[in-house]
C-alpha cells in the first residue's frame, strides 16, 4: 500500500505493492500510438488558429513528439524533436506554426513545424520548468520560469532576454492568459503579473494552501477576461482564487484525489499534478497522482465526474482548442521516489471525449 512507507527502508518489490488495475485503459478512451518511453511531463494541443488538432508531448526521454489527431480519434505520429535533457514544458505559438520546448538542459528551443527546424531561443542557469508564449499588441515573446529563481522574457531573435524578473524562489508552475500571468514558486509564493506594454508584477497573493504548490491555471470571467486561477498542491487540494475578489467568500479550497485507504480513519493523499480549464464551458479538470482525473464546476461548486483509476499517476493533461478532446498522460510522477520507478511499465496518452461531460451544472 502507498501510505506510511517512506523513502529508504526495505525494498518494496513483490506483494507489498498495491494491486494496480489490470486494465490499462479503464475509461476505454482512444490510445495515442507510439507514446514516449519515459514519463510524460507536459501535453499541449495546437491553438485555434489552425484547423487540425496537433498534440505535443514532452517527456523525460528528452524528446518532444507531435501527433495529428483526426476526427475519428486516430493519432498519426508526425515528427519529433530532441532536447539535451528531459523536457519539462512545451508551448505553442499563437499562430500554431511553432512549438517551444524547455527543460533540464537549461535551454528553450523553438521548433518550426513547417520547416522542421529548431533553434535555441533561451537559456537559464538551472532547468527551465515553465515556458509560455505571450502575444500582445505591441510585442510577442516567450516567458520562461526556471529553478534558477528567475522569470525571463525572450524575443526570439535576441540572445539576451528583453526582461528578467527575480523570483523569491524556484519557479514551480505558471500560466498565461493575456494580459495576466500567474507564477508560483517553491515556498508557496504566488505572483501575479500584468503583461500589457511590458510585463510587471501586479500583486503577490498569500497562498490559501498550506503545502507545496504544484500546478496553476488561470480562468476567465463571462466576458473572457482573466479573473482568477486554480492552484493545485501536493496535498490533494485545489484552491480557487480570484485576483481581486468582490467578496472574500468567493475564494475557496476543496479536496480532491483522496481515497480511503485500508486504514479507514485516514485518507490517502495524492498530489494534484495538473489543472486545466475547459475552453468553452469554463469548468475544470484535475489530474491526480492517484491515477484519476476529475471534472469540476467551480461556480456551482460541484464535482462533475471522476474517472476510473489508471495504472499509474496522471502526470499531464490538456484540452484541445474547441473543448471536444481531453488528453491525459499516464506515467510515473516520481511521487514515491526512485524505488517505485519501473521502466518496464508502459506509458500512455489517452484521448477522452469530454464536451458533454464537462457542461456546467445548474446552480441548485
Amino acid at each position: 500500500m502507498f501510505g506510511s512507507t517512506g523513502f529508504g527502508g526495505s525494498s518494496f518489490m513483490g506483494s507489498n505493492v498495491v494491486t494496480a488495475p489490470t486494465n490499462h485503459n479503464p475509461m476505454k478512451d482512444f490510445e495515442v500510438v507510439s507514446p514516449p518511453d519515459e514519463s510524460i511531463s507536459c501535453l499541449e494541443f495546437s491553438p485555434a488558429s489552425i484547423p487540425q488538432n496537433f498534440l505535443i508531448a514532452g517527456s523525460w526521454d528528452n524528446h518532444v513528439r507531435c501527433w495529428e489527431i483526426d476526427q475519428t480519434g486516430k493519432s498519426i505520429p508526425k515528427s519529433q524533436e530532441t532536447m539535451q535533457g528531459p523536457v519539462l514544458d512545451v508551448a505553442w505559438s499563437d499562430d500554431g506554426s511553432k512549438v517551444f520546448m524547455a527543460g533540464c538542459d537549461k535551454m528553450a528551443k523553438c521548433w518550426d513545424l513547417n520547416s522542421n527546424q529548431s533553434i535555441q531561443v533561451a537559456a537559464h542557469d538551472a532547468p527551465i520548468k515553465t515556458c509560455h508564449w505571450i502575444k500582445s499588441h505591441n510585442y510577442s515573446c516567450l516567458m520562461t520560469g526556471s529553478w534558477d529563481k528567475t522569470l525571463k522574457f525572450w524575443d526570439l531573435r535576441q540572445q539576451s532576454p528583453i526582461l528578467t524578473i527575480n523570483l523569491p524562489e524556484r519557479c514551480y508552475c505558471a500560466d498565461v492568459e493575456y494580459p495576466v500571468a500567474v507564477v508560483s514558486t517553491a515556498s508557496r509564493h504566488l505572483l501575479v503579473y500584468q503583461l500589457e506594454n511590458t510585463p510587471s508584477e501586479a500583486k503577490r497573493i498569500e497562498s490559501p494552501l498550506k503545502y507545496q504548490h504544484r500546478c496553476v491555471s488561470i480562468f476567465k470571467d463571462k466576458k473572457g477576461m482573466p479573473t482568477g486561477f486554480a492552484l493545485g498542491s501536493i496535498e490533494g487540494r485545489v484552491a480557487i482564487q480570484y485576483i481581486t475578489p468582490s467578496n472574500p467568500k468567493d475564494n475557496f479550497t476543496f479536496k480532491c484525489h483522496r481515497s480511503n485507504g485500508t486504514n479507514q480513519q485516514y485518507q490517502d493523499i495524492y498530489a494534484v499534478n495538473d489543472i486545466k480549464f475547459h475552453p468553452v464551458h469554463g469548468t475544470l479538470a484535475t489530474a491526480g497522482s492517484d491515477g484519476r482525473f476529475s471534472f469540476w464546476d467551480k461556480d456551482s461548486r460541484t464535482k462533475l465526474k471522476t474517472s476510473e483509476q489508471m495504472e499509474q499517476s496522471i502526470t499531464a493533461c490538456c484540452f484541445n482548442r474547441d473543448g471536444q478532446i481531453f488528453a491525459y498522460a499516464v506515467s510515473y510522477d516520481w511521487s514515491k521516489g526512485h524505488e517505485f520507478n519501473n521502466p518496464q511499465k508502459k506509458n500512455y496518452i489517452f484521448l477522452h471525449s469530454c464536451y458533454e461531460e464537462m457542461k456546467p451544472r445548474q446552480k441548485s
Binding site: S4, I76, M107, D125, S187, K210, I269, W334
Partner: protein, 327 residues
C-alpha cells in the same frame, strides 16, 4: 424532509441521529469557513481551518492560539498517514486568528524546504549519469529522515514546539532552537547550487555562415536518458543495477520524420562526453527561421531606427531580420 442546514455547513452535532436530512450531494467548498468535503467519510474533527463557531466565542479577546494547535497536529498526522509527498514546506496558517496586523515571520515554518518531485527525479538521473547513484540514495535517506522527524514532532507537539509555533504565529522574533524545527534539514546540494556558467548564448541572425553554439555547460549531459532498474529482492542501500539503453528505434509502422539533412550540429563536439559512445546522437538542424534578406529600403522608419540603435527598445522590436547592411 427538511435538509439539515448544519450538515451542509459541516457542523451537525447529531450526525446519523439527526432528524433532518443529510443529503450526500457531491458539493464541495462550503460557503463559510468549514471546508469539509462530505463525499468522503471524514471524522468531523479533521478540519482544514478552525470552525467559524469556535471563533465567534473568542472574537471578544484575542483568539487563544494554543487552542488552535490541534490543527497543526491534525495536518501532520493526516499527511504522514496519508502517504503525502514528504519534501514540502508547511504553513499552519493560524496567524489570521491572532490580532497582530503585521507579522514579519514567513508563513512557512522554518527548516521545511520545498523539493518538487521533478527536482528529485532530475537529481537522481544526474547522479546516476555520474556514477554516484548510491550517494544520492544515501543523501535522500538522510533528507527523508529529517523531514519525518519534524513531522513527528508536529504530530506530538511537545511544550517547546507548541510555544515556539504560537509565538511564531504571533509575529514574535523567536528562535526555533531546542525544538524539532531548529535542526536545519540537510539540504540537497545540487538542487540549490546554480551553475556559474554564463546564461548567455550566442547566435547570429540569418547568415548561414555562423553555427549556433550551445551554452557552456558545467555538467555533462547525455543525449539519451538513463533507465533505472528496480532492485529485485535486494536489501536497502544495495547498489542499483542500471544500464544505458540505447534509444529504441521507431516502430516499423510509422516513422517520426527527422530533418532530412543535418548541416551543422547543435551539440558542440567539445561538450559531448563519454556516454555518447553508446547513445545515438540526434543532431538538430540549426538553420534559423527567417532566411530572406530584406534590403533596408523595405523597412519602416521605426524598424530602421531600432536596428541602428545599440539595443532594441521594448515594444518596438522589429518583426523582420535586419538587412545585410545593418548586421
Amino acid at each position: 424532509m427538511v435538509v439539515c442546514k448544519f450538515f451542509l455547513e459541516g457542523r451537525c452535532r447529531f450526525g446519523a441521529n439527526c432528524k433532518n436530512e443529510h443529503t450526500q450531494s457531491e458539493k464541495f467548498g462550503r460557503i463559510g469557513n468549514a471546508y469539509q468535503q462530505q463525499s468522503f467519510n471524514q471524522p468531523v474533527r479533521q478540519q482544514y481551518f478552525p470552525q467559524q463557531q469556535k471563533l465567534k466565542e473568542s472574537q471578544q479577546q484575542e483568539t487563544n492560539l494554543e487552542s488552535l494547535l490541534y490543527v497543526v497536529k491534525d495536518d501532520a498526522t493526516n499527511s504522514m498517514q496519508g502517504g503525502q509527498w514528504l519534501f514540502s514546506c508547511y504553513a499552519p496558517l493560524l496567524r489570521k486568528f491572532s490580532k497582530i496586523s503585521f507579522n514579519k515571520n514567513e508563513e512557512n515554518l522554518p527548516s521545511l524546504i520545498d523539493y518538487s518531485a521533478e527536482e528529485l527525479k532530475w537529481e537522481a538521473m544526474q547522479s546516476s549519469m555520474n556514477g554516484q547513484f548510491h550517494d544520492y540514495t544515501v543523501k535522500l535517506q538522510k533528507l527523508s529522515q529529517s523531514y519525518q522527524t519534524i513531522q513527528r514532532a508536529l504530530q506530538n507537539l511537545d511544550q517547546a514546539t507548541s510555544n515556539y509555533i504560537v509565538r511564531y504565529e504571533r509575529g514574535e522574533n523567536v528562535s526555533p532552537a531546542g525544538t524539532a524545527l531548529g535542526n536545519i534539514v540537510s539540504s540537497f546540494p545540487a538542487v540549490n547550487t546554480i551553475s556559474n556558467s554564463p546564461s548567455q548564448f550566442s547566435f547570429t541572425l540569418p547568415s548561414t555562415q555562423n553555427p549556433i553554439q550551445a551554452p557552456i555547460q558545467q555538467q555533462q549531459t547525455a543525449v539519451a536518458p538513463f533507465k533505472f532498474q528496480l532492485p529485485l529482492q535486494q536489501p536497502a542501500g544495495a547498489s542499483f543495477s542500471f544500464h544505458l539503453t540505447p534509444q529504441k528505434p521507431a516502430a516499423a509502422s510509422f516513422s517520426f520524420k527527422l530533418p532530412s539533412h543535418q548541416p551543422q550540429s547543435l551539440i558542440n563536439t567539445a561538450v559531448t562526453n563519454e556516454h555518447n559512445a553508446t547513445t545515438r546522437q540526434i543532431p538538430v538542424s540549426t538553420i534559423p527561421l527567417i532566411t530572406e534578406n530584406i534590403s533596408h529600403h523595405q523597412l519602416s522608419q521605426i524598424d530602421l531606427d531600432q536596428f541602428k540603435a545599440d539595443k532594441f527598445s521594448f515594444g518596438k522590436i522589429p518583426r523582420v531580420p535586419p538587412p545585410i547592411e545593418l548586421r
